[in-house]
């Protein structure tokens, strides 16, 4: 996060990281980015949201001043070295919100670009137009969390007034970059907005992969009932006609993590879900970005060529 110093806004704890380790890209999750590739997962501390169900509250809701002694102190070249040593194809920021650590990420992004290592991130998308342009200069693939639409939901569960900036930023990023979207569903809170969210995403780009998460009740919601899987699956019926790639997961054993051809519905990529950041590639049928049965294109970002394909 930031503080004011001599009329400038500065980062309080630059180059301090809460995490730095190798993971499979499906676990982030990115389902349409170089399947099975390895990424270096990094994160910092704090967030601009106060989600009641935060899975990483011990980092995201903690004052970095308290947490900083537990964090890695790694300069950009250290992170690049770690990525190389761990044979990672990319660097992905995914623990908390990247917008709270922009200066460090700008430096890291420059170093990664010089080394030819692409960067991606998870973000809540709640930031100014200026900030989103900075993130777009650092990252080449995004998973934006669209948590809900109504003001009531956003005030009660997230601590923000409106989702409008998030939708605006998804639209902006999807124009030039690979974007996937994630929505944790809470029964009785935002599950009534499934079709409206699908409409919004479809209007932006029907090929945006949408990760619908079964909420894992953590933090302030720990102890509350887990959402009903069958009910949510049924509620997604209409949305599946609107978007080409809808996944329903964040629980172990999910049956809705495979990529199917939008045209003939043949399975082109199989995955296994362990829930809560544990998804894995099982197998790619054919070559991944083409349907093995009918040859139709499958949206896929190839990190080697680093560009959106099949749009």
């Amino acid at each position: 996060m930031y503080t004011r110093s001599a009329n400038n806004i500065v980062e309080r704890f630059p180059h301090r990281w809460s995490s730095c380790g190798a993971a499979v890209i499906e676990s982030v999750p990115f389902y349409h980015v170089s399947p099975g590739s390895r990424c270096l997962v990094i994160g910092t501390a704090s967030c601009n949201f106060r989600c009641r169900y935060c899975s990483n509250a011990f980092v995201a809701k903690e004052d970095p001043f308290v947490y900083v002694k537990k964090m890695y102190h790694l300069e950009p070249e250290d992170i690049i070295r770690a990525a190389r040593r761990l044979e990672c194809h990319s660097i992905v920021f995914n623990v908390n919100e990247p917008a709270v650590s922009i200066p460090s990420l700008v430096e890291l992004g420059a170093a990664a670009k010089a080394e030819g290592i692409p960067m991606g991130c998870l973000s809540n998308g709640y930031m100014t137009g200026e900030s989103v342009e900075i993130l777009a200069s650092i990252f080449s693939f995004f998973n934006i969390s669209l948590k809900g639409l109504s003001s009531e939901f956003n005030r009660r569960y997230i601590g923000i007034a409106s989702s409008e900036p998030i939708v605006r930023n998804i639209e902006r990023l999807a124009r030039g970059w690979h974007v996937e979207v994630t929505t944790p569903l809470i029964e009785g809170a935002n599950d009534g907005e499934i079709d409206v969210m699908a409409d919004i995403l479809s209007d932006i780009d029907r090929e945006i992969p949408w990760h619908v998460f079964r909420l894992l009740p953590e933090d302030e919601m720990k102890g509350e009932r887990y959402p009903d899987i069958s009910d949510i699956d049924a509620a997604l019926t209409s949305a599946r006609q609107k978007l080409r790639y809808i996944y329903f997961h964040n629980f172990v054993g999910s049956a809705w993590v495979n990529t199917q051809c939008p045209r003939c519905h043949s399975v082109s990529i199989e995955r296994v879900s362990l829930g809560c950041g544990g998804d894995k590639l099982k197998r790619v049928v054919g070559i991944g970005d083409r349907c093995p049965a009918c040859g139709s294109p499958i949206r896929m970002l190839n990190l080697v060529s680093n560009r959106k394909e099949n749009t």
Binding site: S18, S19, C20, G21, A22, A23, V24, G36, S37, R38, G43, S55, N56, F58, V59, K70, Y72, H73, L74, D78, A82, R85, L86, V95, L216, E218, Y226, D228, I229, S230, F251, V252, G253, S254, A255, V272, L274, G275, C276, G277, G278, K280, L281, K282, R283
Partner: protein, 379 residues
């Protein structure tokens, strides 16, 4: 085929354990196990009813399957103090209640218990930060005693020699020779194995974000309750089980995070390793207990775990395992056998039993439960 039945709280799905492919299952044993899972949703690793869940689930499964051998793990006291400070009184009370669950199980089931504590816990007093090394240090998962070091430089070794939290480091070839091996080739294995002193944990890239406050102590010895036994080492526990089963239905009960200081039943102190080496609570410790021989080399700390984690591999629901280990006592036990535990998703691999029921919690995030049915032909 071994079948994995996953219960994600209110919803179940079945898989071929090896391939991870969805599978349609039929048969009385699997149907019975599905009913057990549905009736016992897992409360969570640190929930105050977590150990009670073990007892309740085991008694239910015993009532339906009638096994002769039972393997139980109670781990609530291990997880609860790992990342959040507990007052000493609260910890002792939790351990007392864990033993209360053991007693409840033994009374209700009539099984003869053999109880093993995996070792004492100790507060973290320091961190050995290895992120500045020129070589690559890998600390696997929850280990705090051992770390692997790859491509070490002289400067790295000088740093290790001067660090108060480092007890020593050993070339991997010497680690191998400790366990009677000489020529195992595996690119995942480190050049050196580092050992921390009591109270120290390692910081390397790839470790969990949560920083522990209580970690396994210097457990060269562990407590074992086994009346009449004269065994002295962890490798002798398997023999105790076999001996007991001649006369009794027998339960091997593992108490995680409980060592000689806190063990509440009469016990004998067993060696928990070999020479300079002792086991941390881990897959290797379990496999050594169930197979009767040292298994650290099969499941070594500090290896490049990610080399096998991000490509297609077998046993996707089985944690670190990429193949089914052999040699567990229950693999060849002709009687019926079950396991129930709240430690992690590896009991089905290390116990070798017919049916296992375990929590499916990853880094304390509660996903539900998983049962594995390895054999249905004993009904």
């Amino acid at each position: 085929m071994s079948t994995a039945i996953i219960d994600a709280r209110g919803w179940q799905n079945c898989f071929d354990l090896r391939t991870g492919d969805e599978a349609e299952i039929v048969g009385p044993v699997c149907e019975m196990v599905k009913a057990v899972l549905a009736g016992h949703p897992y409360p969570g690793d640190t929930d105050f009813t977590s150990n009670r869940w073990v007892t309740d689930t085991a008694l239910d499964l015993i009532g339906r399957y009638e096994p002769r051998f039972v393997f139980l793990t109670y781990a609530q006291q291990y997880f609860s103090g790992r990342y959040e400070s507990m007052a000493e009184g609260a910890r002792k009370d939790m351990i007392s209640r864990a033993f209360g669950e053991v007693e409840r199980f033994a009374d209700a089931s009539g099984f003869a218990p053999i109880i093993v504590g995996t070792g004492d816990m100790t507060p973290v007093t320091g961190i050995v930060d290895l992120t500045g090394l020129e070589g690559l240090a890998i600390c696997t998962h929850w280990s705090t005693r051992y770390t692997g070091l790859f491509d070490a430089t002289k400067k790295d070794l000088a740093f290790l020699e001067g660090h108060p939290g480092i007890e020593g480091y050993m070339p991997w070839s010497e680690v191998l020779s400790t366990f009677g091996e000489t020529d195992r080739k595996d690119a995942r294995l480190p050049e050196y194995l580092l050992m921390s002193r009591k109270g120290y944990a390692f910081r390397t890239v790839g470790i969990l974000m949560k920083v522990p406050v209580m970690i396994p102590s210097t457990n060269y010895h562990i407590p074992v309750y086994a009346p009449g036994s004269d065994a002295m080492n962890i490798t002798g526990i398997r023999g105790l089980i076999e001996e007991s089963l001649h006369e009794n239905k027998t339960a091997l009960i593992v108490m995680e995070g409980v060592g000689c200081d806190d063990f509440l039943w009469p016990y004998r102190s067993f060696g928990n390793g070999k020479d300079w080496f002792y086991y941390e609570p881990s897959e290797a410790q379990y496999m050594t207990i169930t197979s009767g021989r040292h298994r650290f080399i099969d499941f070594p700390s500090g290896n490049k775990y990610f080399d096998v984690d991000d490509r297609r591999r077998d046993y996707p629901f089985s944690g670190i395992f990429k193949s089914a280990p052999q040699g567990s006592f229950a693999d060849t036990f002709p009687g019926k056998s079950i396991a129930v535990g709240n430690k992690s998703m590896f009991m089905h691999m290390v116990t070798g039993v017919d049916i296992s029921v375990e929590c499916f919690a990853r880094n304390l995030y509660n996903q539900g439960t998983m049962a594995v049915v390895r054999r249905e032909n004993k009904v």
